[in-house]
Every structure is written in C-alpha cells, then in structure tokens.
Amino acid sequence: MKWVRAAAIVFLLAIAGASLLANFVAPASYAHQFREEPDAAPSRRHLLGTDDLGRDRFSRLLYGTRVSLLLAPAAAFLASLLGILIGGLSGFFGGWLERIVMSATDLFLSLPWFFLLLTVRAILPLNVSPIISVTITFALLGCLGWAGAARMICADARSVRNSEFVLLARASGNSGLRLLWRHVVPNLRPIAIAQFWIAIPVFIITEANLGMLGLGISEPLPSWGSLLGELQSYTALTGQRSQFIPLILFVAVVGSFHLVLQSKEELRV
C-alpha cells in the first residue's frame, strides 16, 4: 500500500500548493463580482462558472481550500499542544492530578461535542468580520478538541514515567523539570504527531458542518463549509454540475488524509 500513501501525499501537496498560490493561480479575487454574469456556466473565463452573486467559483474554491487547509492544521496543533500540556503533565506527575485530569477528560469526551461547539459558538458574536470569524471557528475547534489527544498522551506519559531509563535518569540526579523536558517530552513526540494528523480531517469536517449551518466563517471569505453550503441552492433546472466539484475535492482531500493515516498505522504494525 506504499504507492497509495505516496499518491495521497502527492495529491495533498498538489492541492496545498495550488491553494497557497491562489493569489497567482486564481483568475479573480474571491470577493470580486462579475455582476453581468451571475450563475454563469463553466467557460474558459470561469472554469467552474460563477455563483449567484457572480463570483468566480474556481477562485473561491482555491481560496476556500487555503483557509481550510491552513487553519485545520493550526487548530490541530493547538489541540495537540493542549493535549501534551494536560495529558503529559498529568501522566508524568500521576497520583491525584492524573485521576482528576482523566476524570475531566472522560467527562469532556462523553459530551456530544457538536452541541457543545454550537453552544460556545453561539455565546460568541455571530456578525463579525471574516478574519475574526476564522479565528473564532478554528480556535474553538482547537480548544474543544484536546480531550482525545490528552487521554492518549497521558497513557504514553505514564508508561514513560514508569520506564527504566527514567528511573536511571532519576537515580542520576535529574530534577523533575529537566527529567520532563529532556526525557519525557521527546518520547511523547510520536504520539503527539499522530494525534495532530488524526485531528486534521476531523476539524476539516467539523468546519464544513458549521459552515453549512451558517455558523462558520463569515462571507465573503470562502471556506469549504460555505462552498458546500451552495449545494443547498442547487436545483435540477438552474443548477450546474460544477457545483458538486467542491464536494468531490473535499472528499478526495479528507480521504487522502485518512489514507496517509491508515498507511502510517500499517507501517507501524
């Protein structure tokens, strides 16, 4: 299955590259309206046609992909960082701290997290600038998605704490903080990286769900959520098949992430 993994990585890199170069590749800005051409069919000028406000769909897809592909890893990084802090420290120190933190983590994991996300999102302002809405959406995902990572990292930190090399380091006179920084944290890196990769597709899908419900990133900034939301206005009479392209790309990108993760697990086995 190595070639599948390689193909998935190449595909992800190509999509990421195209979206990062959106300023040069896209024929127009994501917010530019071609007022004389609303709902235009795909053509040489507009590869995927235009939306009901006359904005070039191809450009919006590139910019939207950039938003989702850059910020989902950022949210995953935040979640992993919180997971390392919470899970790593509780696993390393053990005792009552570990018991309390793990009970809180279990509690957090048992909550229906989309309901929680909706509640916390609703507390924050809805009518804000696109940049603030991007920050709010992905910061929320990062702050609420730490529990799974913390649980895994805590288990790993516990086994490192009880390992022989840590015992040897303790016997050599290493202090708590030095022990943590030099011996425990480097050993937690592989699990933290795995949790980071696992969180990315989850956050991309969650952002898409939020965006399709109108609770994600504000217009005119596109994201996969708002692009997929356009399907709600699709009709057999006036709709264009090109409206389904963002959905196909979405499935391909999330699927590629899953393939990379699956292959990683197989390689580890």
Binding site: P112, W113, F114, L118, I123, F250
Partner: protein, 283 residues
C-alpha cells in the same frame, strides 16, 4: 451492584457538573438579563438594576436554576417565546424516531457488511465495502443531508448513512480480531458451519466491545442530528438547537445540550453495563 452504583454515581455527578457549567454559561453570557424595557427613558437606575437581576450571585442563580429544573421548568425560549419544556416535549419524539431508525439501519447494514466481509474472506468484497464506507466517512453529515434532499431520498435515513461507516469500521476490526482466535480455528476444524461459527464463536466473544460501540454510536447519531434536521427540515431537537444557536437563545441551547448529554450518557452507561455483564458471563 457495585458496578451499577458506580455508573449511576458517575452519571449524577456529570449531570450536576454539566448543569453547573450550563448555568455558568447562561449567567455570564453577553446580554444575560437584559430586556427591551431597560431602554425605557422613564426608568431610573434602580429600576433598571432590578430588571437586570444583577444582585443574584452565581451560586444563587445555580440553586434557582436547579430548583426550576427539578420542577420540570426549563425556562422560556427567548426567540420562540415558549416554555423550553414544551418545545422539548414537542420535538423530542421526532429526534428519537430519526435516531432510532438511523441506528437500526446503520447497525443492520454495518454489522451485516462486516460479517459477510469477514466470513467470506473475499478481498474484492472487503475492498469494495471499505471504499464505500471510507468515502462516506469523508462526507460531513450536513453534505449527506443536502444530497438526500437533492435526491429526494427519505431524510430519516441520513443518520444511518452518517453512522454506518463508523460502525462498519469498528465492527469489522473487532470481528477480524475475534476470527483470528485459536478457538475459531478449532471450531472450523471440527466441521462447524459458517453461521454457527459466526454466531457462537466470532460475534459472541466480541459482544462486550460491540456493545461499547453501540453506546458511542448513539452519541454520534445525536451529534449528526443537528445538521441533518436543520437542512432536511425535520422538526426535532437538532433543528431546535440550530435555531437557538442562530438566535443566540442560550437558555434553550444550554438546556438542550444538558438534555442530550444526559441521554447519551445514559445510553453509554447502559451499553457499558450490559457489556460488562456479558463479559462476566463469558469469563
């Protein structure tokens, strides 16, 4: 008995803590206690303070909140101007129906696919089922809901399609692990039929873990109910939560979150308990 008491205690603790967090969220949410009457220029500062209930501390507010909850009073929805209890009573059956049908479809299809794939040992079937479920796993619930609306397919099945890939994946892994046990090889060598091997020697040992997955699938179905009901126009709890979020109706939203948390916790605890009973009998 000790196990049941532990589960009930954990459930109660979670609900009390969840209720406290909910009350805290409502109490400190921007705009709490404000009313249009406050902009009446005839009111002085004391009257406005009285309207805002600013004297009530968090502890006092939480006690009142719990007292009202115990009496079945969940407060009033700000946007819909109706008692929350009435709204929940009206919409809960619709959600339970959707979740029930969805879980039934997902479990029947997912478990059947996993059983056929594992017992037939057909690489083609396994790959095909894996690709279909993998593709479904990549779709957000909201997109599945929209696709169902466009295809004019029955909306009640959306939850089943959303939960199906998760169930297939977990069930397949559990059954493969169970199938590789030495006692299954012995049973086969003794000439037992495929169905008998599957039912008695593959599914039964995996039953405790499958029950744990059943608990998780209930939580997944309730989570997927929000986008599904909102986009398919099904008048359930999910749609109500979405409307509450759009209208920043925190009283309603927080009550719904606590309620769904309670339902999923009960489902999880029941499945976990059943799993431990089955596991103990097997041991």
């Amino acid at each position: 008995m000790h196990h049941i008491a532990k589960h009930v205690g954990k459930l109660l603790f979670t609900l009390v803590l969840g209720g406290f967090l909910a009350a805290t969220l409502v109490r400190f949410a921007p705009g709490f206690g404000t009313d249009e009457a406050q902009i009446d220029f005839r009111l002085n500062n004391q009257s406005i303070d009285a309207l805002r209930h600013t004297q009530e501390s968090l502890g006092g507010f939480y006690l009142h909140y719990c007292e009202r909850l115990l009496h079945g009073d969940f407060g009033m929805s700000r946007t819909l101007q109706r008692p929350v209890a009435e709204l929940i009573e009206e919409r809960m059956p619709e959600t339970l129906k959707s979740v029930g049908w969805g879980l039934l479809l997902a479990w029947l299809t997912g478990l059947s696919l996993a059983c056929i794939g594992v017992m037939s040992r057909s690489a083609l079937f396994d790959t095909a089922a894996g690709i279909v479920c993998g593709a479904l796993l990549c779709l957000p619930a909201a997109a599945v809901a929209v696709l169902f609306v466009l295809a004019r397919a029955p909306e009640r099945l959306v939850l089943g399609i959303v939960v199906l890939p998760q169930i297939y994946r977990y069930a397949r892994n559990l059954l493969v692990r169970s199938l590789n046990q030495p006692h299954v090889l012995t049973a086969r060598a003794k000439g037992l039929g495929t169905l008998r091997v599957l039912l008695w020697h593959v599914i039964t040992p995996a039953a405790p873990q499958l029950l744990a997955v059943a608990g998780v699938s209930a939580s997944l179905a309730f989570t997927a109910a929000i986008p599904t009901e909102a986009l398919c126009d099904l008048p359930g709890i999910g749609q109500l939560a979405w409307k509450a979020a759009m209208g920043r109706d925190l009283y309603l939203l927080v009550t719904l979150t606590v309620l769904v948390t309670a339902v999923t916790l009960i489902a999880n605890s029941t499945c976990e308990l059943l799993g431990s009973i089955v596991g103990a009998r097997q041991a």
